[in-house]
């Protein structure tokens, strides 16, 4: 059997590319490691020396100020030197290939690449290339690739759920919205299944569901009222505005009417259900302001936990020998 490309021969995390196929004990280890990092943010000096002298390159082939910033903060809190490259506005426009860019940066003594790319599989390609060329001491973290995966988002969502709900094996969880185009949804679903969530639901219009949704281990609902009944966790997805242009959806107003999360719909979930959203939110499209600002929303804690989880991933990678 082929080796899991994310793990080294000792079963330790070598790259973080996807939550799919990530062993349960590795996921749990990341969440456990993140916990003491949350305390660092409350200190006088918000820095730890773990990545001192290391260089982390944020390679963003697709713009995302927020995700890039959270990785930058996480790396800086670990004392790494951080270099931000927005390549969408840089050398690929001059015709350089992805791997040429990577080779150049590797020659600048990079220790870690945080990669965001519009094409699914780009971070995997980079990791493979580094290994094939004997530079497997350089680690790759996927910060979102195409429709494929956004593993640190998925993991920070797991951290958030565990923080409020403790035991995954007792939970009903609903993932709501544009699952078809969402790398976040895929990363969440794989992690939730691995962690043993017994009741996992996907709620979306037919046009926004992938064809293989059944194989992912979700029960499918096209009706919010049915799907939300009795759940412990509601995971909202961002409806990307550009999806509105095509024939997938009639209008934001109509989407909100059927699939927007309002207090009335949320009332069907358990009274202590929590609401997550990966941001940035479209208020009045997938989520009503009353819910986004309400007592059940844990959207801002997600952001705070996200720093700790990204620190944990970087700290674990930084201590792994190839």
């Amino acid at each position: 059997m082929a080796r899991n490309p994310q793990l080294n021969r000792h079963g330790e995390l070598q790259h973080l590319l996807t939550t799919e196929g990530l062993p349960r004990d590795v996921i749990t280890r990341i969440l456990d490691t993140a916990e003491p990092f949350t305390v660092v943010a409350e200190r006088e000096v918000k820095k730890l020396p773990l990545l001192r002298g290391k260089s982390v390159f944020n390679l963003f082939f697709e713009n995302s100020t927020r995700t890039r910033t959270t990785f930058e903060i996480a790396a800086k809190r670990l004392s790494a030197d951080v270099i931000n490259l927005n390549i969408s506005t840089s050398s690929t426009n001059k015709g350089e290939t992805l791997l040429d860019t990577v080779d150049n940066l590797a020659a600048m003594q990079a220790d870690m690449f945080v990669v965001r790319h519009a094409s699914s599989g780009a971070p995997y390609l980079i990791a493979q290339h580094l290994e094939a060329t004997g530079r497997d001491h350089i680690h790759v973290i996927n910060a979102g690739d195409g429709r494929h995966a956004h593993p640190t988002q998925g993991l920070l969502d797991m951290y958030t759920i565990r923080h409020y709900k403790r035991d995954f094996t007792q939970l009903s969880v609903a993932v709501v919205g544009d699952i078809l185009h969402s790398r976040v949804a895929r990363s969440q679903i794989h992690a939730l299944t691995t962690l043993g969530v017994p009741d996992l639901r996907a709620i979306a219009p037919k046009t926004l569901l992938p064809a293989d949704i059944d194989r992912l281990g979700c029960r499918v609902f096209h009706d919010m009222a049915e799907g939300l009944r009795g759940v412990d966790v509601v995971m909202m997805l961002r409806l990307q505005n550009e999806r509105m242009q095509g024939s997938l959806l009639p209008s934001p107003q109509e989407y909100f009417k059927f699939f927007g999360l309002t207090q009335e719909k949320l009332a069907l979930a358990k009274p202590d259900a929590i609401v997550l959203h990966p941001g940035p939110m479209n208020r009045g499209v997938e989520i009503d302001s009353a819910v986004a600002d309400g007592r059940q929303a844990v959207i801002l804690p997600q952001v705070t936990f996200g720093i700790a989880v990204r620190m944990a991933v970087m700290a674990m990678l930084g201590s792994v020998e190839a």
Binding site: T33, P36, V45, L48, P49, A315, S319
Partner: protein, 163 residues
């Protein structure tokens, strides 16, 4: 070899520290044995300040070689570090590297007035210029022999591990 009785050493250590503590003195235990010890000392000395605890895993100098410890805990210093008299508490003083890591971590919380070190056992084998302020016993152990504190119920004892 026979090891001294940890409960007896605890009393000896408390007697050494007692004349030197003031109303602003705080104990900081180093995980895990040092925290047990700090809890017992806190009760024996009747200190006003709560106990702090440090897990120095994030400051260890062998992180890149050995990786992060699996069960790293959150450090907690429930008092202002700035300007305070602190006593680091650990069960066994060996190479001095844990103390070095603890000092580095402490200073990321603030600038203490004075930092002292209390250990139950000094077993020799120092690799850094570190000396205890308070020490209940010294042991002469072969380099590869390990000794550590164990807690059974509320009773502390010293155990030999490794070889």
């Amino acid at each position: 070899m026979s090891l001294p009785d940890a409960e007896h050493l605890l009393v000896v250590l408390a007697d050494q520290i007692r004349p030197r503590v003031g109303s602003d003195t705080a104990l900081v235990g180093l995980h895990t044995g040092g925290v047990w010890l700090a809890q017992r000392l806190h009760a024996l000395l009747g200190l006003a300040q709560p106990i702090g605890s440090l897990d120095v895993s994030f400051y260890r100098d062998d992180y890149a070689k050995r990786g992060l410890a699996r069960d790293t805990r959150s450090s907690a210093l429930p008092f202002e570090v700035e300007g305070r008299h602190l006593i680091l508490v650990d069960d066994v003083l060996h190479t001095g590297r844990t103390v070095r890591a603890a000092l580095n971590e402490l200073f990321d919380y603030g600038r203490p007035l004075r930092v002292e070190l209390a250990v139950l056992v000094d077993r020799g084998g120092r690799e850094l210029p570190v000396a205890p302020t308070y020490c209940a016993a010294t042991l002469d152990l072969p380099p590869r022999q390990r000794v550590k504190l164990a807690q059974d119920g509320n009773t502390l004892s010293l155990r030999l591990t490794g070889n």
